[in-house]
């Protein structure tokens, strides 16, 4: 059986890849925070990396991916557990739009 490559297929791919990216990012996130064990200045030193434009872009990507993973995941939970009918394709577009909007707010905050 072959899944038809509609919007639901791409939502599943996006959900999975965003989850994978988040898992790969988490150890770095944790290691950076743990530099606080060596004092506030040590953490601050690493936080200055966030001034680099490339790091800001990466952070923007992570915010958008986290939001996407959350909203696409909520759609799956709705499909599986709520007695509502339909495939909730509107959720996918809404999730993408909301995540991009969140990303835009992030850019506005760091720019």
């Amino acid at each position: 059986m072959r899944a038809r490559r509609g919007i639901g297929f791409w939502a599943a791919i996006l959900h999975r890849l965003s989850g994978l990216a988040l898992v790969l990012f988490l150890p770095m996130h944790f290691l950076l925070l743990a530099t606080a064990l060596r004092g506030e200045a040590a953490l601050d030193g690493w936080l200055r990396l966030a001034d680099m434009p490339l790091v800001k872009v990466a952070e923007w990507g992570l915010v958008v991916l986290l939001s996407l993973h959350l909203l696409l995941g909520l759609r799956l939970l709705i499909l599986e557990f709520l007695p509502w009918s339909g495939l909730r394709h509107g959720w996918i577009w809404g999730g993408v739009a909301a995540s991009l909007a969140l990303g835009a707010v992030f850019i506005g905050q760091v720019a």
Partner: protein
Amino acid sequence: MMERPIEARLFAIQRVTALVLAPLVLVHLGLILWAVEGGLTAAEILGRTRGSLVWTAFYGVFVFAAATHGAIGLRNILVEWARMARPAAAKISLGVASILLVLGLRAVWAVFA
């Protein structure tokens, strides 16, 4: 696939951890957008978390749920996409869960203590 009891259990754990994570991620995203204005500083972060049992409990639960959820998700990718044998995928994902748990709890402790 679902005739294997372990698959059904992992499926259930993945949903339960997702339900736990959803509100935590929502708060985390809100905090990121609010806190990132004007750049992050250690003083700002530690001012919030040092000695705070509420944030420590919040992030402690977050780490447990994320480590579990991420490891099960990774296992699914290894089995379904990388065609890895289940025992090997289980070993890798258990290792990843342990790493995320140790590093995560260490980070929570670092910003609390």
